[in-house]
């Protein structure tokens, strides 16, 4: 059975078992490999995508539930928050092994889109579901604050 949805701005159709987790449709069918498998039970956040603009763990999302919806993966990011976050990530060298960072970046962007100037508490709440075994958390926090500052100064300028 084909499931139709929008992936990174383009209409797509996946002829797969409707129970297939979105993660494996993204990776196996569409070969977008920035979205990672980390735990399979929504504990680590490595598989985070945006579904209709909100964060979603693709490893526990049957693709059937996405039908008609809009999915954005790290490969399809666009907009000022995405640029600010990714530039901030590079600027202070957040990644170590890098495997979780797609998910971290997706969560951070979703946060900034709702809360342009997040507090430490906002960051804890939004990012608490994204595990980084390298423990790059100090820099993740700083990069989010830096990105927020960049967005604010861009808006003022």
């Amino acid at each position: 059975m084909a499931v139709n949805f929008t992936l990174n701005g383009k209409p797509v159709s996946a002829d797969v078992d409707p129970e297939t987790p979105l993660l494996w449709v993204i990776r196996d069918t569409f070969r977008l490999t920035g979205t990672k498998f980390g735990c399979g039970i929504a504990q680590c956040g490595a598989c985070t995508v945006h579904l209709n603009g909100l964060t979603r763990r693709s490893c526990v999302t049957p693709v059937s539930q996405v039908g008609g919806g809009t999915v954005t993966t790290i490969e399809g990011l666009d907009g000022p928050e995405a640029k600010a976050i990714q530039d901030a990530w590079v600027d202070i060298d957040v990644p170590q092994c890098g495997f979780c960072q797609s998910g971290q970046v997706m969560s951070a962007i979703a946060l900034l889109r709702e809360i342009p100037k997040p507090s430490d508490e906002n960051i804890n709440q939004a990012m608490g579901g994204n595990i980084c075994r390298c423990a790059t958390y100090v820099r993740i926090r700083k990069a989010i604050h830096n990105a927020a500052d960049t967005l604010a100064s861009t808006a003022e300028g």
Partner: protein, 208 residues
């Protein structure tokens, strides 16, 4: 490497998935506790006492982890029969739907989604969210729970609306159909609705 071996009576173990501790799953799969029907309380002559007894029977549902895990005091839902703090960490957020970037809907879908890599499932329901903070009752006595249910300031419901909530709300109903590996709430939602009605009909008395 030399190993210290302990002799097993039977050397064969049946497992469907590598190394999963099946004991845990079977414990959680235990059949639901029973719930008495209102008729069982008709022998109590005193109407107030009958009402209290009916509420105490309903209390088996209120305090069952399947229901109270989403009626926490404070901001963190609980999980499992041991009612441990939800992992990953989540907070109540606006409308009990979670925080920006980490809403309930980040993980929970319209229905349970079985894990592909191991036992269990992630629970789901179209209305998945926390009960309002004023309806948090983990650790409270039945008397306290009863008082706050009857207080419209906190329950945001009339007694009639409460009966409907208990008898037919979809998210409440999930508690009796939580999926494989989770012990359902006691009895059935129908029975719970009948008990609630009988409690209201007997004056909605609270335990002391």
């Amino acid at each position: 490497m030399k190993r210290i071996l302990f002799t097993l009576a039977g050397t064969v173990l049946l497992a469907t998935i590598a190394g999963l501790a099946l004991e845990t799953a079977s414990a959680a799969d235990a059949p639901a506790e029973s719930l008495k029907a209102p008729a069982a309380f008709e022998s109590i002559k005193d109407k107030d006492a009958r009402s209290v007894a009916l509420f105490e029977e309903m209390g088996k549902v209120f305090t069952h982890p399947r229901c109270s895990n989403c009626h926490p005091r404070g901001d963190s839902p609980r999980q499992g029969m041991a009612m441990h703090i939800h992992q990953p960490p989540v907070v109540r957020g606006a409308g009990g739907m979670g925080a920006p970037g980490m809403r309930c809907s980040t993980c929970h879908g319209k229905e349970n989604m079985p894990f592909v890599t191991g036992e269990g499932s992630i629970p789901g329901n179209p209305a998945w969210r926390l009960a309002p903070a004023e309806q948090g009752w983990v650790g409270k006595s039945l008397a306290q729970i009863c008082q706050q249910l009857k207080d419209p300031e906190r329950s945001h419901m009339t007694l009639a609306e409460l009966q409907k909530h208990n008898a037919s709300d979809g998210l409440v109903g999930w508690g009796w159909h939580p999926g494989k590996g989770r012990q359902p709430a006691p009895g059935s939602q129908t029975l719970f609705g009948e008990l609630t009605q009988a409690w209201i009909d007997t004056g909605a008395r609270c335990p002391q």
